[in-house]
Point group: C2
Chain length 164, copies 2
């Protein structure tokens, strides 16, 4: 079992310059602050939708589901890359991944009044690319499946790099 | 050319019960209120990201892009279905579509400080299914491409229907 009290989330290791994401940045005060963790070989995140995250009354907005799968996917990709290199997530240089493509299949309406569980599986780690498959469940029932193809951020977009 | 002053958006025709979507509901006070229109055989929507919709500083969060493509897609699907039936969008019964699957390819970073343009093309209208391809552009350059497979909402989820 994961122990969130003992562990920092993947996203908590992101450098400050990369912590402003609306979905998962710890420094975005208006954002969703998604937090992902290892649970064995899977990655897990929990999120409780807010009342305004509605599609139709009672159900979660599909764009929120896509956002959760997206940020859980890129976070899981970074964690998998560190693990492949046998490195701690606070070691340098930082590894950050961005989304090249996102696919979501909505299997059934997702109730808005419960905490949702995301579970990610690392499908592929190859070169700069990591593919993460995720499920989103409510009350133990899978409501959506997603796949993120994440690519390592080019070095010139990492903190401290010269840009422009 | 479209004339937004003269025309209601697709989403403005949704019944009240279906106007609470965080992405496009006119009755969701905290939502994005995406508005889509016909422009010939294409559909178009414009959206100006807010400062907190950031991925990395200066760029738009991918989950927002997915949300825009999602709601523009389902709105376009409904409009295409009315058009196929030769019906005005305020005629009854209402036609509402939900997302069965969403795919987004992120082609390049999307700048956050400009108004984004979504353009949708109706790829397929068959039975209860409508497939909509969209591009999202900034400064005339395509930053993302998306596809929404939308399905007609079952009659028992339409306004006034008995549920549960």
């Amino acid at each position: 079992m994961i122990d969130k009290k003992e562990k920092k989330a993947f996203q908590d290791y992101y450098p400050d310059d990369h912590s402003h994401c609306y979905g998962c940045g710890r420094l975005n005060s208006q954002g969703l602050k998604i937090k992902s963790y290892w649970d064995g070989d899977e990655t897990v995140a929990h999120f409780t939708p807010r009342p305004h995250h509605t599609a139709m009354p009672g159900y979660v907005y599909g764009g929120l589901i896509a956002s959760l799968i997206d940020c859980h996917g890129t976070g899981s990709a970074a964690a998998a890359a560190y693990r492949r290199e046998g490195r701690a997530m606070d070691s340098l240089p930082p590894l950050r991944y961005v989304t090249a493509s996102l696919k979501v299949d909505y299997l059934q309406p997702t109730p808005i009044d419960v905490t949702l569980e995301l579970r990610g599986r690392i499908k592929q780690v190859e070169g700069r690319k990591v593919v993460v498959e995720s499920t989103l469940s409510a009350n133990g029932s899978v409501c959506a499946r997603g796949e993120v193809v994440a690519v390592k951020l080019p070095d010139n977009m990492l903190p401290g790099a010269k840009t422009g």
